[in-house]
């Protein structure tokens, strides 16, 4: 028995394939075909195909950058952190919105990987899309702490909020959002409704409203209680299905709506401030 466990462990050590698929070995291919959507943002578009050598850990971003460096330097692509925290590299990979740097080739089936720009965003070039409308929606819901009893201007502060870990847990997961726009691209309402704030912005409205340092729930509700506001979410759940960071925007939206329908009471107690009269030397 022990022998067996040891052997399994050894196997794992040799093939630290990660959690996704134990039968990863089968997926190891030396080369794949990378199909890249090309457009100048105006009229024509087509796909270019590149043959890219891959390793076990090669991500789609690695493959794209390889193509850019050695095959066709004109590929338009947006990227920065390569560790799934900046939200630059969202694109449709094999038809589904994903982060390129967060998708290993070995997780995908078949020998062809196709990359297209995110749907529901205007195209600028190739895989690069215009995020201004998306960012604007985020700004519209006033995503900052508002609390008229407290000084929130930029001035020396020596008071600290007392916020219990369980208070943090109420909003924490919604603050995981990296603004990558995948949810926005997957949502069926966004697909047709240009004024709908979208899952990202709506879940941020919830994130700030349940933070017990903030008391502007009512204000934000007024902003989104509109024809094209929060009610245009039909809980299609696609936003949460594609979100790479576990934000679960659908959950935030439904919970916020619960407050607006008075299904759930707003029993939030504002966080207390405590003076930290630190000696200033």
């Amino acid at each position: 028995m022990n022998e067996l466990i040891k052997r399994i462990k050894m196997f794992r050590n040799n093939h630290p394939a990660g959690d996704e698929n134990a039968d990863n070995e089968k997926n190891i291919r030396e080369k794949i075909n990378l199909k890249v959507f090309r457009t100048n943002g105006k009229s024509e578009s087509h796909f270019d195909t590149f043959e890219i050598p891959i390793m076990r850990w090669t991500t789609v971003l690695d493959a794209l950058l390889h193509a850019k460096s050695y095959c066709d330097s004109s590929i338009g692509i947006r990227y920065s952190c390569r560790m799934a925290s900046c939200g630059s590299c969202g694109m449709k990979i094999n038809g589904i919105p994903r982060l390129a740097c967060y998708t290993k080739i070995s997780e995908l089936k078949g020998g062809i990987v196709s990359c297209e720009p995110l749907a529901n965003f205007p195209q600028i070039r190739d895989l690069v899309t215009d995020f201004s409308v998306f960012f604007n929606h985020h700004k519209q819901i006033q995503p900052f702490i508002q609390n008229e009893n407290i000084q929130t201007e930029d001035r020396e502060v020596l008071t600290e909020y007392i916020q219990k870990p369980e208070d943090v847990d109420k909003y924490l997961q919604f603050s995981y959002c990296i603004k990558c726009g995948l949810c926005y691209s997957a949502c069926p309402t966004v697909a047709t409704d240009t004024k709908f704030p979208g899952p990202q912005a709506l879940s941020q409205a919830y994130r700030y409203s349940v933070d017990n340092r903030d008391n502007a729930l009512g204000k934000r509700q007024n902003i989104i209680d509109d024809r094209h506001g929060i009610w245009r979410c039909h809980f299609a759940g696609s936003c949460s299905a594609v979100c790479p960071k576990g934000v679960d925007p659908a959950l935030g939206i439904q919970l916020l709506r619960g407050h607006m329908l008075r299904f759930s009471k707003n029993e939030q107690k504002l966080a207390e401030l405590q003076d930290r009269g630190l000696d200033k030397s």
């Binding site: 529901n120 409308v133 929606h137 924490l172 959950l251």
Partner: protein, 152 residues
Amino acid sequence: METSKESNSTVRNNREGLKGWLNPARYGWERVSYWFQRLTGLFLLIYFIGHVYETSSLTGGQAAWNALLALTQTVQGHIFLILVIGASTFHSVNGIRLIFTHGGMGLGKPGRPDYPYDALSLNYRQKSGIWISLILAALAMLYGADVLFGTK
């Protein structure tokens, strides 16, 4: 640029459009539910309008009523009715589930998400809600078929 005007958002901006409503298979059961809820809703609305029109033939006396009834007493008419039964069952059962979820109930409490981030809101309670709606719709259609076709 961030300072782009509000008016910008009324531009179509490369939206997926109605195509985005279709192909529900890409994103899981919740998307299927969304899609069916819409389709059945629309279908029921059409049926409802038709039904109001149909019953209005009452006012034309027995002959008119029977003439219209004859239309629905065909095989196609029965199939249509069965579809209505299925649609209304699914739409109502799933609709009740949706009313709860729209109010944030049955979704669980937010907390620290752990990798691999399975979304809380797409939990099995909700998924089984969708499956139950579909199964009930199927059963209702079977029962309807039994009533409509079976007695003959």
